[in-house]
Point group: C2
Chain length 255, copies 2
Amino acid sequence: MLSPAEARQKFRAGLRVPTSGYCPGWTQANLLSLPREHAYDFLLFAQRNPKACPVLDVTEPGQTSASVFAGDLRTDLPGYRVYREGQLVDERTEVTSLWRDDLVSFLIGCSFTFEAALQQAGVPVRHIDMGTNVPMYRTNRECRPAGALSGPLVVSMRPVPAELVPTAVRVTSRYPAVHGAPVHVGAPGLLGIDDLACPDFGDAVEIRPGEVPVFWACGVTPQAAVMRSKPPFAIGHAPGHMAITDLRDSEFQVP
Amino acid sequence: MLSPAEARQKFRAGLRVPTSGYCPGWTQANLLSLPREHAYDFLLFAQRNPKACPVLDVTEPGQTSASVFAGDLRTDLPGYRVYREGQLVDERTEVTSLWRDDLVSFLIGCSFTFEAALQQAGVPVRHIDMGTNVPMYRTNRECRPAGALSGPLVVSMRPVPAELVPTAVRVTSRYPAVHGAPVHVGAPGLLGIDDLACPDFGDAVEIRPGEVPVFWACGVTPQAAVMRSKPPFAIGHAPGHMAITDLRDSEFQVP
């Protein structure tokens, strides 16, 4: 049982792992760092797409920590992706040399937050049981655009036994600030997902007989918008390799 | 039982009334319109103070309607307040002649949204029963600042019979996007409220023996920030005289 500070220390030292199941009880977050001139468009994009982009915190330009994250945003995540003009140009374990004084960092809620609650309610979480990264898919659903930003909704998928789907919906709906209730249950083809075995991000997981694929809005959606909209520069977390914050999961539970 | 469009028509024709209890089942919203150059600061202020400033919608600059409000933002609220350099300079029933092409309008959740749910749960809502405006108070609690914007938290108050306080907390906590659970129960002096009979906005209400004053974060908070922070120009709704949107209250209920 690592504390957030201990986990961040391991990531700073170079450990590169998906963070699902890490530091149970502590909230994990997606990262997107953008030049200040694009910050309003992104904050508006997030407001218009709150299921996919629930904003937990926004830094001042150039700041390397956040009010909810006492570590160093440049080194303390287990993986980063670097974009230039919308192209993924690098994947790294730290971004210190790339940091800029005008970068505004957005920390965005992550569905890993409600996974402990799912398990406590008896809903298995396959990618945790398999020790892999959660599967994530681009969908055919468009986000509401904002300024220069547009892009598709990205979803994470967890296979849920059919009789536990109502429980999974009920439990996760109590966490609206970290993606909340699913956006889609079953019928992946209607989301434009042709093959669940080929996720766009993360790893495929086994779907057993009697299980239904359940889809939640995913905090990789901002990076899909970066790829589509091509701002000159952006840094994101590596999908599934999250920022572990100093917030307790319980702060996000309603009622 | 008016529809939102019918109510807006009456307000456009000049009817000036507090909107609590109007169009039950339809979501009401606070308005703040600011020049585009101040929009990022305000959107960030809202993100940092989500209990007081839950953003339901943001317009493009100059737009006079919104995706959640099919009416005319310049005429279809029952009352407006106009600020120059943070000074309240005018109170009007329409602001057409003052409108500017660079105004970005923010529609912010309103606690009137959960009042029907309170009544259905057996919790009396005094200002509705009295036919007056809800009492609102500036507090001694500072909001988290953002850029040039800072200000105190403003709260609305409803007196609740002591045995119904838990019900009032439980019911309203299911509406996090429209201020959610109370921020304070009892002890108004600790919020810096010296005299409940003298609200800063709205009307005083009777507090009966055995009732406890319960305080919810209030969407007048943005106007208190305008008064403190003195942007050159701003338009807000007259407190208690809200925008009636085309959204159903039920959309904001979780789980």
